[in-house]
Amino acid sequence: MQSSEHNGFASNSPNGRDAHNRLLESMSAVGIANKDVVEAPYLTQEHILFREQVRRFVDTEVKPRGEQWEEAGFVPRDVLRRMGELGFLGVRYPQAYGGSEMDSIATAILAEELGKSTFGGFAVTVLVHTDMASPHLANAGTREQLERWMPDIVAGKKIAAVAVTEPDAGSDVAGIRTSARREGDNYVLNGSKIYITNGVHADIYFVAAKTDLAAKGSRGISMFVVEKGTPGFSVARALKKHGWLSSDTAELVFEDCRVPVANRLGEENRGFYAVMKNFQNERLVLGAQAIGEAQAAIALTLEWVTQRRTFGTTLWEKQAIRQRLAMQAAKVEAGRQLVYNTAWLASQGRDCVKEVSMLKAYCGELVNEVMYDCQQFHGGFGYMREAAIERMVRDARIHSIGGGTTEIMLEEVAKRMIPSRDRT
């Protein structure tokens, strides 16, 4: 093949064809899937070891069972408990509650490796629990509240969900209508929540509600802990989704739901700031998950195109295909570095709202672009339900929407591009 001279392998072989075959050989299914990208300098031995353990868990406990969970519409509790036993659900939490006091980089590793499982629904079930819901308790909880709920959350015995979004308020948190009226030692919650991940099967919900109806905008919102089974709280329906089928998503209803004052997280009327604060972590995690999914898709596609033959050659031998995959791999690597650099900034306690917003926008769009190409190169098979790539395409779609749409993220970036308006 003439083309072997252009791929850089011809020079170290007397025969370009041999070089090409070696290249193909080195891309045996296993070789690609396990090939590590060079690790960044700020990764410690603990980070690397943690990654290996999560990867082994995903390969042995998740990949063989994921299809069943997609059918069932949720991830069984024993899987989450097992992850709890292994300490995967308490990455950054205090040791006193079973956590390991690691940093944002370890969190990014968890999200990336779960993303590589090819089951986005499974990944998000875990990540909502660890990084979108339970941080509300970890950040704002009193000692009593932490002691009461944290150990079970870290152990995976109680699964968490966060309920902020309403039919008329998503990223625009200030627009929520669910109310919490103070009555003696209780608050009385009324309203509804929608698109709540883990909403059907969770045990503990962190719910945003208006405690001061007269207050304007962001003021007047408080966060509450509502446990499954509290009278007046119900799951109205499980929602059917485009992707993420192994994740349960619900509409929740609160009808005169009485919650003790002891279940309020943080100060009254200051809940908005708690929600905003955790958005950063949530978006970092979603970006890392998206990058994991994109890497897995490219690996799957490489397996396919190096084997699938058309017109006498493999698809990989066609420059148009391998160059497009190479470019996507380059973009994914760029996104991955942005994710880890931002995680490192966060681990140093540095402000990184701009970087987080950038990576959420970039990775959320990129994963869709990558999935499009990967499905395209799978040909007709990629359109079949039995192809992993078909599921991954559906799972990826949410990444430019959930946790802050690309448009919202770009506004956050734009705001910070002009120094005089920076962080007003």
Partner: protein, 248 residues
Amino acid sequence: MKILVPVKRVPDPATTIRVLPDGSGIATDNVKWVINPFDEIAIEEALRIKEKQGGEVVLVAVGQQTWQEQLRTGLAMGADRAILVRSEAALDTLAIARLLAKIAEEQKPDIIILGKQAIDDDSNQVGQMLAEMLGWPQATFASKVEFQDRKCTVVREVDGGLETVAFDLPAIVTTDLRLNEPRYASLPGIMKARKKELKEIPADSLGVDLTPKLKIKKLDPPPKRQAGRKVASVEELVQVLHNEAKVI
């Protein structure tokens, strides 16, 4: 019970291995290194014994500075402490067995458990050599290990069946694949491993003859697999197997 577990660092079995063009070794760039899988089984068995009857699990490796990564992994699984006998040069099995025997004399374990072989060179010698040097009984290829007081019973996987042997401690046991399934290192385990003792000893400080008795002259990659071909009938298949492949 005090258990000593020798550990070797080997390329990940899932990695594609490339032999260097001059046949002097394998290309090590981009190779992921892991604990020899049989040694990982040995660590798991040691931890289970400790969990049942108390004691201490001590890991030991003979190798370069980088080998502490595998020792840390073992500590993260739950071993108590580790010893790295530092040697920059690659040593042959006899030298390694001699060093391990020295460490055993110093540590005085009740039992030494190690992999039956390492998956890189498949030597299958260190356990047996150690038994000879220490004058201890040995049970190789263990698929089941049980204790009663100072007596150990091991079920061995031998050709055509199983063999059960019993002996007194101290002793050497080498592990086979079906002995157990090694545990994960939990995240709290990984964090705890950071603070566990990992002692380094220079290999040349132990007064052991390290001169290699064995030299690897050349490595050859396995022959390339030939493409398959379809035959039209059973008759043709028999013909081909007999005349061309010459296997029947």
